[in-house]
């Protein structure tokens, strides 16, 4: 059992205390931190769940693996940045193995995929616990100081996190819209048979897209490691929240991903000031369910499910 | 006008920039049989979707017994007395033929025909225990007609009931429908001319989403323009 509920990003670990006037700015930046992380984690899910129709319950473990990669590299080498470079690689390796060993054999059997990926998630969690031992792993941020933003004083590392997340997302948008691989992905997603007909290797495209999503989730784990409690069981909360992002935002567009992240991340951040984190989570869940009832295809999407 | 069951007035549908249907009228009287024909892509299935309330028209209205049915949940429409046979045979493959008919009867507000009678009507009397998924294609189509009958409809809408059938099966289906004529209204969407000829009823010809002709089938059949459309000359 996970000993304590560990909410993503800003809910715990050195909360930034708002003071009168800068309350709004601080809340906004806290929300932005969470939204950034959710977008990165949600991206991989939007690819696998939304577009390939694969329910991967081990997606949260990509985040965990990324965070552990940072911890591991930092503990032997001392460099956070090297660890952060290792995080997406670790996520990609795990994702690639998972796709190759299990998921590609189960494309036509959704319930089997759910069970098998959940099994993998348990194996990974226990594997990490047996390897690294019990208890939370310390990860120190590369920059300790704060930055004076005129309205408020804010931890510099969080601003770096937001910047890296934004740049990554921009990179992904460019990759999908400008490169031939991006074109392959879009073609496969729109019409699989047609894609096969024009000579695209759909199997390979799926595998690469899946691995890519895992790498981005690993990066998210690496980024969040200094802010979160790094535990083998940390993934499940990211998993649940990222699924909300995809469900609320709808699948098939970056716009949906952003909308979903803003909805889930924004609501969570705002509520976290008023009430206890788990109640905030429950309200976000209910809000997400109601949103889906009202807009079955997502806030931002016309594509059918 | 009291015996009017279904009335579509000035129905139009727009999908984005495409005008799929334009200014279509259709009146179905109680216990009347009529056909909607047209070449592929003429908008037949779309029109049928509008008539069953599954698609909301962008203009015009569809009234069943004087009531607007657009956007009602499917099961409510069924309970009003509109039965529908889908284009792709959609039976419940993991249930037996008998259970398929039972499920259909249970859905009806007041089923009348017993399952045994339904089995005979659709010529599946000896296949009652067979899993519906294992039936031949034509038998599935008949089973589906049987399921539509089980809910004791006022109106039966058939979407290409003979799709994929052999000529013999097609004629048998036409006979089946002629036997049922007079019990309730039937609207059949078809592009198989032989089938419509066998039914010989009021016919509406669609072409590119508009009404091309309408009237008794023998008038339609001899119409120059209809022939042109069917032979692809227009």
């Amino acid at each position: 059992m996970p000993p304590k509920a560990c909410l993503p990003a800003c809910a715990n670990a050195s909360p930034v205390r708002p003071d009168a006037m800068d309350f709004v700015v601080t809340t906004l930046l806290n929300a932005l931190t969470l939204i950034s992380i959710l977008m990165l984690v949600g991206l991989g899910l939007a690819i696998s769940f939304g577009l390939m129709n694969v329910t991967n319950l081990a997606h949260g473990e990509f985040v965990t693996v990324g965070a552990f990669a940072v911890y591991f590299v930092q503990s032997i080498d001392g460099s956070f940045w090297l660890g952060l470079a290792a995080a997406p690689i670790a996520g990609a390796v795990v994702g690639c193995i998972l796709e190759f060993a299990i998921i590609r054999h189960l494309y036509s059997r959704p319930v089997s995929t759910v069970l098998a990926t959940w099994g993998v998630s348990l194996i990974l969690q226990q594997g990490l616990e047996l390897t690294f031992g019990l208890g939370a792993k310390p990860v120190t941020p590369p920059i300790e100081g704060t930055l004076d933003l005129f309205f408020t004083v804010y931890p510099a590392y969080r601003l770096i996190l937001i910047t890296i997340a934004a740049l990554t997302l921009l990179g992904v948008v460019l990759l999908i819209s400008r490169t031939s691989f991006g074109l392959d992905i879009r073609t496969v997603i729109q019409n699989r048979e047609m894609a096969e007909g024009v000579g695209i290797n759909t199997r390979r495209t799926y595998a690469i897209a899946f691995t890519f999503g895992a790498a981005i989730a690993g990066l998210a784990g690496g980024l969040v490691a200094p802010l979160a409690i790094v535990l083998p069981q940390m993934g499940v909360n990211y998993l649940a929240n990222a699924f909300f992002v995809v469900i609320v935002g709808g699948v098939g567009s970056i716009g949906g991903l952003v909308a979903g992240s803003v909805f889930v991340g924004g609501l969570t951040s705002v509520l976290n000031y008023q009430i206890s984190p788990s109640l905030a989570q429950a309200i976000v869940l209910l809000a997400a369910i109601v949103a889906v009832r009202l807009r079955p295809n997502g806030l931002f999407n016309g594509a059918s499910r | 006008m009291s015996d009017v069951l279904l009335q579509a007035e000035n129905v139009g549908i727009r999908f984005g920039g495409l005008q799929a249907l334009e200014a279509l009228d259709l009146t179905v009287r109680d216990k009347e049989l009529c056909c909607i024909i047209g070449p592929n892509g003429a908008g037949k299935s779309t029109f049928l979707n509008v008539l069953t309330g599954t698609l909301r028209p962008t203009s015009g209205s569809v009234r069943f017994l004087g009531r607007d049915i657009a956007g009602l949940p499917l099961h409510r429409i069924a309970r009003l007395g509109i039965a529908r046979k889908f284009q792709i045979p959609s039976v419940f493959p993991s249930l037996s033929v008998e259970d398929n008919l039972k499920v259909a009867r249970w859905g009806a507000p007041s089923p009348v025909r017993p399952v045994a009678e339904l089995l005979e009507l659709v010529a599946l009397g000896n296949r009652a225990a067979t899993l519906a998924g294992e039936l031949a294609h034509g038998q599935k189509q008949w089973l589906e007609i049987g399921m539509a009958l089980a809910i004791e409809p006022r109106l039966l809408l058939l979407d290409e009931p003979t799709a994929g059938m052999t000529p013999q099966e097609t004629l048998a289906t036409a006979e089946m429908l002629l036997r049922l004529k007079g019990e309730f209204s039937i609207v059949a969407v078809e592009h198989d001319i032989r089938f419509v000829r066998a039914l010989n009823c009021e016919t509406l010809v669609l072409h590119q989403g508009r009404r091309l002709r309408s009237g008794p089938f023998h008038d339609i059949e001899t119409d120059e323009m209809v022939r042109d459309v069917y032979l692809g000359r227009r």
Partner: protein
């Protein structure tokens, strides 16, 4: 599908017979072990009633078990409430049903099925566990609530006191038998047949006049209510309630019980629960962190070996096929 009503009833009768003679050969401790396993078996049957008949997987079913458990604990620990045991059980069943009704309403009528449903219920389980941990003024936080009294009530002049091993075993076994039989007769009759039809082709079922979302909702609520009942029984037997009871691990374990025992058979999941818990106790006695690891392997194994999820009850048929294949190969 349930293969042959007669066979099912025969196996059911054999199980009942076994459960009846078991007290004659077992000591008090063994009785309590089986009693607790049977409660989890009831929980597994409740999941199977929904998953087996609708094909929709609920990944947070322990939430209902936990809700039932906590309500039972809170009612029976409050001295001001009369007839605490009976009211507690009713409250547990109603509480689980209400939560299922609220969540189910939005999901089923919102057109949410399949994987989406699985995910949302997973999140529901996570949140329930979090709530149990952090709402400590009511739930006792991480350590839960202890000292829950055994079930005790009067019915028609008969005083029922379940503080002893044998009466509590009989009580639980009887409830499980009645519940499984009831669920089975519901699921093989008209209700279950229509559910199968909905699983096959929901649009078609709706076009025949069936209100599919409502039927799914009622099935889900009934399933949750029974899970709540199991939770209520469990905390009274164990004497304590803790956040694990609504946790994700239990939610996944129950899925394994159903999958291994045989989805859609109702009886199989009960047996699956008993046998797997037996295995769990043995394995956990070596190393407690080994169990989740093994559970993960079981999940992968279940998917790979039981490609068609018929579980334990289909092993015989599988072996037959296997040996036939061998013989042909020779």
């Amino acid at each position: 599908m349930i293969a042959g009503d007669r066979n099912w009833l025969l196996i059911f009768a054999a199980c009942v017979a076994l459960a009846t003679i078991y007290p004659l050969i077992a000591d008090g401790y063994q009785l309590t072990v089986i009693r607790d396993a049977l409660i989890f078996g009831l929980f597994a049957a409740s999941l199977d009633f929904f998953w087996g008949r609708t094909g929709i997987l609920c990944f947070g079913h322990a939430a209902f078990f936990g809700i039932g458990g906590y309500i039972m604990a809170l009612v029976t620990l409050n001295d001001a409430i009369p007839f605490a045991s009976l009211l507690g059980i009713m409250g547990a069943v109603a509480g689980a049903a209400v939560v299922a009704a609220i969540i189910g309403y939005f999901l089923f009528f919102g057109g949410i099925r399949g994987s989406y449903f699985t995910i949302v219920t997973l999140a529901m389980g996570v949140i329930c566990q979090q709530a149990a941990v952090s709402w400590s003024s009511v739930t006792g936080g991480d350590s839960g609530l202890i000292g829950i009294p055994p079930i005790e009530f009067d019915v028609g002049g008969l005083h029922v006191d379940l503080s002893q091993d044998l009466p509590s075993y009989i009580f639980v076994a009887a409830i499980v038998a009645v519940a499984v039989l009831t669920l089975w007769s519901i699921s093989r009759g008209r209700w279950g047949t229509v559910l199968t039809a909905i699983q096959d082709n929901e649009v078609r079922a709706a076009a025949l006049g069936h209100n599919a979302p409502l039927r799914l909702l009622v099935t889900f609520v009934l399933s949750a209510a029974i899970a709540g009942l199991a939770g209520a029984l469990y905390v009274c037997m164990a004497g304590l309630v803790a956040p694990d009871l609504s946790g994700l691990l239990l939610s996944t374990e129950v899925i394994v019980w159903v999958a291994v025992g045989g989805r859609g058979t109702l009886l199989g999941p009960v047996l699956g629960a008993i046998f797997i818990q037996r295995a769990q106790q043995t394995i956990s006695s070596f190393n407690p962190s080994l169990w989740p690891l093994l559970l993960g392997c079981v999940f992968v194994f279940v998917v790979i070996v039981f490609i068609l999820p018929d579980g334990i009850l289909s092993i015989y048929a599988r072996l037959k096929v296997l040996f036939k294949g061998r013989r042909r190969a020779q």
